[in-house]
Symmetry: C2
Subunit: 464 residues, 2 copies
């Protein structure tokens, strides 16, 4: 059969089974599997069981694996011809809380289609995007009785609480989970009609800095002018973290920042991105940061050093003329490859030792750290993704990134040594963590077809 | 009679009446005239009436003047020979709250003498020091039937709440209150045995600065690097307020700072001041500020610009990776003559316009202002004070200052045009606003004699 015939038969199958698929998806979305809320524990377990059965129905062998937190659901199909690759699909069946409930136009756990959108908590993040993988597998199995590749589906129930037990599970099951690539649909396209490969994520290094001066708040009249003010000292210290061009001034901070491929920067520059729209979203009149980089480059490929909060002295109503005993700031650095969070902590500490004025003591607490990530996809994997979206969206996926962090990606690469393809079918503005979460019906349907074609495209390639 | 005989007869009178004087003082101290506590309003009124009668008993005509707040008690004696000066004695009969009560070793309003100290709320601030003026007047009237000078005693009941109605009262009664000098005992000596003239007070200009960025807190991953962080912008702005030598870097800030007389600086340098003691009091290992000035000069004669409090973004437990929408700081500048608070506000605002980075909006609220003060005492007044303390303490008063503010002093000079002599008999560490307030019995007794001699010394001088 020709490629076109393959695609047409897949499309026909999805069309023929469309109503049932939607019913099943809605059943999944109706389970309020809110992992952050202890009284939803039973619902999270119910969603895991529902998913196990759904996997079995499509033809996977499946089981629920308990963890110290919410369970992992694992589905497998290992009947591909010798030499075919093994693909691990990751997704999560837990969802964000629906509160505030009164802001929803239809109930969060009563899925409803309006204006071509599926409205429900979890529609895009991530139940809908996880479920379309199962349906792609079902279509291939139904049409051919076999899959072109071996498949492992790993669905966790703790993504929204920080995936606390996932790394341990992967490490413990590493043999079983060995694969040639990880595929994840838990991200967005760049814009309607523009599929995207999420190709870089920033890491993080979180700190709290404490500046201590006098043993208690002092009268600013009696002591002011001779005792160093910790709030002022904190301000002076924070002001040393950047130069006047918005570049971080901690010596050595950029030493390990890996250059981006010129090709990626060129493709990012070609994205239809609107600074004015970004400013409007943020609610600012003017942007800042490193002028020699575009706005998307600043948030995707450049590290940052931001104050998340600061406090010191009297902050109530009116005035109180104290010279404060202490001031502190919470700071997070967003990191990019190949910056190492621990090394950044050391550089930060060394910088503070240089810039701390006499008369105060400074302590830096290093709170958390995870490295940044950039996709390094082999051509067999990247090419398959390009061919798949050319069929379903008429174009290759854009290279995009996210300024935030997604530790699970680095966990997969670190523990399984497999490249990770992040191909999502959501859209910006889908309220993933807000009331009225939605997913475009059209993207859900194109997503099923894209994944089916992707698995098919991976058939004939042999990973290195 | 010789001077020595005069002093001896005064001493003998105070000794003879010592027990009764103490009984009366204790009666005064027993009235819990806490002006800040609404449920003590009756006690404040009772203290005013008690004081009116006490003034009448010593031979003054006296009356209670209601104000919109607590009353003013006014006592007068105007029988001095033609050409004799008129001296206005100011003090206050209201006291600080006594709380926390459980930290007092004897009840706050049950005066008790222990180790040569009178323990009670108001003992030094200011009932004890006001009362010793009445007894000095009584002694002179008792011994001679007349005072050497005309005397007005003005006692207010709102000092501890900010003297809200005093300036209006003085302005309304300016004719009646016209005088050649104001004498106040509401301050401390420099050290035991070292009487002091409080000769300078710093003024104040109070501000709040708001730095606004995005319309709401943003995700620091999604926007960090391209949106200016208001907390960081605030830090960078605050860091421009001083140079690296601790000097205020607001252009024009020092333009009106009046030089101190070399003689004053020399006398301040000779004071037995211990940097280590000051550090220990403040609880710091090292001092800061302008190195070319001594510690006492820094807190007494130099202006400051201090952060009293700052806040922005997430300040709760743990971390929250926000790019804050706003950050703010409360700032007070301590001012010295001839800095003008309004002009300082204008200079500050102009400075902010220069240093505010693009991407944020800055607003400066000017909250309060009062100028600094420096005594400019005529020789007839200063000489009389010197001669008085030579008799009672064996030395001339030291020239001292206070880094805080005392608006009433500038009010008297502004509204009555009279020089103000601040000669106090308290001691550092007397817990004026804390539990276990005390006044040395010896200083109370020397205080009465000093004031009696001072009034006597003022007899023969003719003010300019």
């Amino acid at each position: 059969v020709s490629e076109t015939q393959t695609h047409q038969s897949l499309e026909a199958w999805f069309r023929a089974h469309g109503a049932r698929i939607r019913d099943e998806l809605f059943e999944f979305l109706r389970i309020p599997s809110v992992s952050t809320q202890p009284d939803r524990r039973g619902d999270v377990a119910r969603a895991a069981e529902w998913l196990e059965q759904a996997m079995q129905r499509v033809g996977l062998s499946a089981e629920v694996h308990p963890t110290a937190g919410h369970p992992v659901v694992l589905g497998e199909w290992r009947g591909a011809p010798p030499g075919a690759p093994t693909i691990l699909v990751y997704g999560h069946y837990d969802v964000q809380p629906a509160e505030p409930l009164d802001l929803w136009h239809s109930p969060a756990f009563e899925p409803e289609v309006r204006d071509g959108r599926i409205y429900a908590r979890g529609a895009t993040d991530d139940k809908g995007q996880l479920f379309l993988h199962l349906k792609a597998i079902e279509a291939l199995l139904a049409l051919r009785g076999a899959l072109p590749v071996n498949v492992i589906v790993l669905a966790e129930g703790e993504e929204e609480t920080g995936s606390d037990h996932l790394a341990d599970f992967i490490a413990a099951q590493a043999e079983r989970l060995r694969c040639d690539a990880v595929v994840i649909s838990d991200s967005t396209m760049f814009a309607p009609g523009m599929p995207a490969l999420l190709s870089a994520l920033r890491g993080i290094a979180g700190f709290e800095i404490f500046v201590d001066g006098p043993s208690g708040d002092l009268h600013s009249g009696t002591y002011g002018g001779a005792v160093v003010n910790p709030a002022m000292a904190l301000a002076r210290i924070l002001a040393t973290l950047h130069d006047e061009n918005g570049r971080i001034a901690i010596p050595g901070f950029y030493d390990r920042v890996r250059e981006w491929p010129a090709e990626w920067r060129r493709r990012i520059a070609e994205l239809p991105f609107d600074d004015a729209g970004f400013r409007a979203e943020a609610g600012v009149r003017e942007l800042g940061g490193e002028r020699e980089f575009s706005v998307l480059e600043r948030v995707w490929m450049r590290p940052t050093c931001e104050v998340n909060g600061l406090i010191g002295g009297y902050t109530g109503e009116g005035s109180k003329t104290v010279l404060p005993a202490r001031a502190s700031a919470k700071i997070t650095c967003r990191l990019v490859p190949d910056q190492d969070p621990g090394e950044i902590a050391r550089l930060f500490r060394a910088h503070l030792e240089r810039v701390t004025p006499p008369g105060v003591q400074v302590r830096l607490d290093y709170r958390q750290g995870s490295p940044g990530w950039r996709a390094d996809l082999p051509e067999w994997l990247l090419g398959a993704a390009r061919r798949a979206t050319r069929v379903t969206f008429g174009r290759e996926p854009s290279i995009v990134a996210d300024g935030g962090s997604l530790p699970v990606v680095t966990d997969f690469e670190r523990l399984l040594g497999a490249p990770t393809l992040l191909l999502g079918f959501g859209l910006p503005g889908e309220n993933a963590h807000a009331p009225n979460e939605w997913l475009l019906v059209d993207n859900f349907e194109r997503g099923m077809l894209t994944i089916a074609i992707l698995l098919d495209e991976l058939r004939e390639v042999t990973p290195a």
